[in-house]
């Protein structure tokens, strides 16, 4: 190892530790902050009680709020942010398009179509849940985009396919809603287009944790292949990479992660787009470092965004997608502007 590489490695480790610490602080804040005023002592006791470490007497409703609402919500937000950022990074590399991300590619639109099909058309005759419908819809939209965009890839084709998919599935959703939904004053069925962490509980944590962990491992496993993809498929092939197999595996993993997230919390835009660019700006384009960085920064971003969404107009809740865009766009603009000056 040369001195410069050691320095780089040390800087990287310090960076990871920094983000990890920030993530822990943010998650602690996520657990401590809420509409119910709960003393910090009770908050800590509630967590240690449930972990079986202590048996401190605390009001049971407060304990349940800490453990069943706030902690599970914080964890799902973290995994969700990690999963979406990771999906964005993979799609951007694989499709060689800086704009690729699940939201832009119409996957969330597919999820909402799936959800309203189950709810309003009665697909699955009550046997499948709304989440399962959203999951299937997301996969369908994803398959549609990949099918349209595969073959000789140009940057515009992917985005065009995504735009087409979004339009198609949004139109289908509107069609189903206007033909099947009962009349109502102003509300629409559009939860799937805005996103919310309000309904998540512990079973969701388990699901999100396992899907994102598997996704992260598989993606990191392929990080060298992803590096090669940066130079195009031909270059990757000449480096001895099974291009077709890698593509299919990584697209499947991305689809799985995205569909799981969307079916759980609805579509949350911008994370998959912004975080990979931010992470690339910090750690460079090498996927071995980029992918874990994306996961960590994505998790941090989402946990903070969730806290903001809960306190900004309390006791009402701002849709999380609004926060990610409001916080994300200025942040992204700074990155773009600085990148322009560097170039």
């Amino acid at each position: 190892m040369t001195a410069s590489r050691i320095r780089l490695w040390a800087a990287g480790t310090a960076g990871v530790l920094l983000v990890l610490t920030a993530l822990l602080v943010a998650m602690t804040a996520g657990v401590a902050i809420g509409e119910m005023t709960i003393p910090m002592k009770t908050t800590v006791a509630a967590v240690t009680n449930r972990l079986g470490l202590t048996e401190i007497a605390v009001p049971r409703i407060q304990e349940a709020v800490i453990w069943d609402y706030r902690l599970s919500r914080s964890l799902v937000a973290a995994f969700c942010g990690a999963g979406l950022a990771l999906s964005g990074a993979i799609l951007q590399s694989l499709l060689r398009n800086p704009l690729a991300e699940p939201y832009v590619l119409g996957i969330s639109a597919g999820a909402s179509t799936g959800a309203v099909s189950v709810m309003l058309l009665g697909f699955g005759a009550g046997a499948i849940s709304l989440s399962a419908g959203a999951f299937a819809g997301a996969l369908l939209a994803f398959a549609f985009v990949v099918m349209l965009a595969s073959g000789r890839q140009t940057a515009d084709r992917t985005i065009l396919a995504g735009v087409a998919a979004s339009q198609l599935f949004n139109a289908l959703t509107s069609y189903i809603v206007s033909t099947s939904a009962n009349a109502e004053q102003a509300r629409s069925v559009m939860f799937w287009l805005l996103g919310s962490f309000a309904g998540v509980r512990w079973p969701d944590v388990a699901l999100a944790a396992s899907v994102v962990s598997i996704g992260l491992v598989v993606c990191i496993w392929h990080s060298r292949a992803l590096d090669a993809f940066t130079f195009g498929e031909d270059a990757a092939r000449s480096l001895g990479i099974a291009v077709q197999r890698v593509r299919i595996v990584l697209l499947l993993v991305t689809a799985l992660m995205t569909a799981t997230m969307v079916s759980m919390v609805g579509a949350i835009g911008f994370v998959g787009l912004v975080i990979p660019h931010a992470a690339r700006f910090i750690v460079g384009p090498g996927h071995m470092r980029l992918l874990p960085a994306c996961a960590l920064v994505g998790a941090l971003f989402m946990v903070v965004a969730d806290i903001v969404s809960r306190i900004i107009i309390a006791p009402q809740v701002l849709p999380i997608g609004v926060v990610t865009a409001l916080v994300g766009v200025p942040f992204f603009s700074v990155i773009l502007y600085r990148a322009r000056r560097v170039a």
Partner: protein, 333 residues
Amino acid sequence: MKYGLIAALVALPLTALTSTAFAYPLTIENCGSNVVIDKAPQKAVGLGQNSTEILLMLGLADRMAGSAIWVSPVLPELAADNQKVHRIANSTPNFEAVVAREPDFIAAQFLTSVGPQGRVGTRQQFADLGVPSYVSPTDCAVTDNAASDGARKKMFSMDLLYQEIDELSRMFDVADRGEKLIAEIKAREAAVRARVADKAKDVSLVYWFSSPEVAGDAWVAGKNGASGYITQVLGAKNIVTSEQEWPLIGWEAIAAEDPTVIVIGTMDRRNQPADDPVAKRQFLITDPVVSKLDAVEKGHIVEMDAQAMNPTIRTITGLETVAASLESFGLLK
């Protein structure tokens, strides 16, 4: 003295009615514009279930050319009359479908249907065809907000509904029927007030209409809507302080307020899973936090027609339902 005052109060609106009724052309200030009626409508269209139900209650079925925007089945006592009225659409109809009925009057429940961004058409569009339109005063008081159900700066009051009944009945030249209907509802409200008196001061309520997802944040009644009015008549407290009609509130915030009674809306609509009252009840008794609330553990859960939670002719029934439930729970003390 006391009786004299009541007599004066009762007589005041009555004289106001009789002086203007039967005088066509009739001009009524409605929702910021004037409605001019040359003669009593013979082919009215009701846009919005409540407007239609009021017209049916006034015995005007044979003077209606159609109805649309239905949230649930018609009130049972109006079913036979409603059969006679052509249903244009269950949901929001388009402009031509309404015009095709050749209406001579539009009675709309919501500004979202005929307001400046009216989904059916604007009032001006109808006026251009010589069709006068009337919007429920209960909805005019709501600030329109496309992203939600709007907000209400001033508490809803049954007076707005009485005004609607009164104005519609005068326009249709059946002012006497309107007076009778208003008197009936007033008597029912007075009966509840007498029964509850100030015995529900320690009761706090939350009205759960529906939710985008069952376990997620809930659409609950804001302080100034019809549900807020019910709570006020009962002398109880609504735990939500938002001016919005149906703010989206998290269960942690609801748990923090620890309501004495949870009122859940029943409806035929199934646009969201939480529209189903069974799903609502299931959530209340299984959620790790909400199931531990006093109201849930003691079974202080009331089911109420969701339309009664909005300003409608059914609000009075909602008031009676909640009052009777509080009594049966032993919460009136």
